[in-house]
Amino acid sequence: MFPDEFYDFLLDGVLTIGLTHYLILSVLLFSLGILCMVTKRNAIGILIGVELVLNAASINFVAFSKYQTGGLDGHIVALFIILLAAAEAAIAIAIFMNFYNTLRTIDVDRGDELRL
């Protein structure tokens, strides 16, 4: 029904998962992360966008590790990325808390500063 090339493509390109599949997934996650970062007004939305980009980077590292080097270097980088994500989330929360602490000490009549 289909030419032979189609079946070859199906077998090699679609069914046999290779590095390219993972890289394309990570590119898509990266672009979605950028979109999320730019379009969200809420600060947490931006943080979620950053998480998407970090995950895209981890997928790259682990996939390269499996298909290109065979070592565990990529896994270790991914571990450090997870650590970084946790650290950044903690800082973000602390920044919000500080913002509210400051907000409470400010008079109501000076609220116009908030509309920056």
């Binding site: 998962i17 997934l25 969200k40 995950n55 991914a78 571990l79 989330a89 800082i91 000490t105």
Partner: protein
């Protein structure tokens, strides 16, 4: 794992991760976005299993999906009805961002499709059984300095978080 299992695993979990990510971008509700992030993180963790990075997958589930996500949900609670707005993108800016993201994605994809992987591909299998042991050993040998710097970084975050979030005198 044989070819079909790999393909099934990849497409299933990649779809979970990707559609959750699309949901995050599309939704206006920030709580929903935080919940959808769980889908992406979980999908990526399962992809690590498919990539035979078992230890990493476990860590991703425990630390990332278990810990970091909780922090993010706390952040959502703190900011959902607040004046804390960092950026205010206009409609034009959002349009430009969409165009840039689409162009970036398509151009990177086409670039990636042109690369011939077979030249440098490895047959060397990833260390299977005691993966934790190998990771642990290299963290204390080859990656000792980054490991220590990471601990200093966490110390800084701890000081900073405790200090920034302290109650007002």
């Amino acid at each position: 794992m044989d070819v079909f299992e790999q393909a099934l695993g990849f497409y299933l979990f990649a779809a979970v991760a990707l559609f959750s990510a699309i949901g995050i971008v599309v939704t206006k509700n920030i709580v929903r976005a935080a919940v959808l992030l769980l889908g992406t993180l979980g999908g990526v963790a399962c992809l690590y299993f498919v990539l035979s990075a078992n230890f990493l997958a476990a860590i991703q589930l425990i630390v990332y999906a278990g810990g970091t996500l909780i922090l993010i949900v706390f952040g959502v609670m703190l900011t959902s009805k607040s004046p804390f707005v960092v950026f205010t993108p206009s409609r034009v800016q959002i349009g430009i961002a969409v165009v840039i993201a689409v162009v970036l994605a398509t151009s990177l994809c086409t670039l990636l499709l042109q690369v011939d992987w077979s030249a440098t591909a490895t047959d060397q299998p990833i260390v299977q059984s005691p993966q934790v042991k190998v990771v642990g050993e290299s963290l204390l040998q080859q990656y000792l300095v980054p490991f220590e710097v990471a601990s200093v970084l966490l110390l800084v975050v701890m000081i900073g978080a405790a200090y920034l979030a302290r109650p007002e005198n």
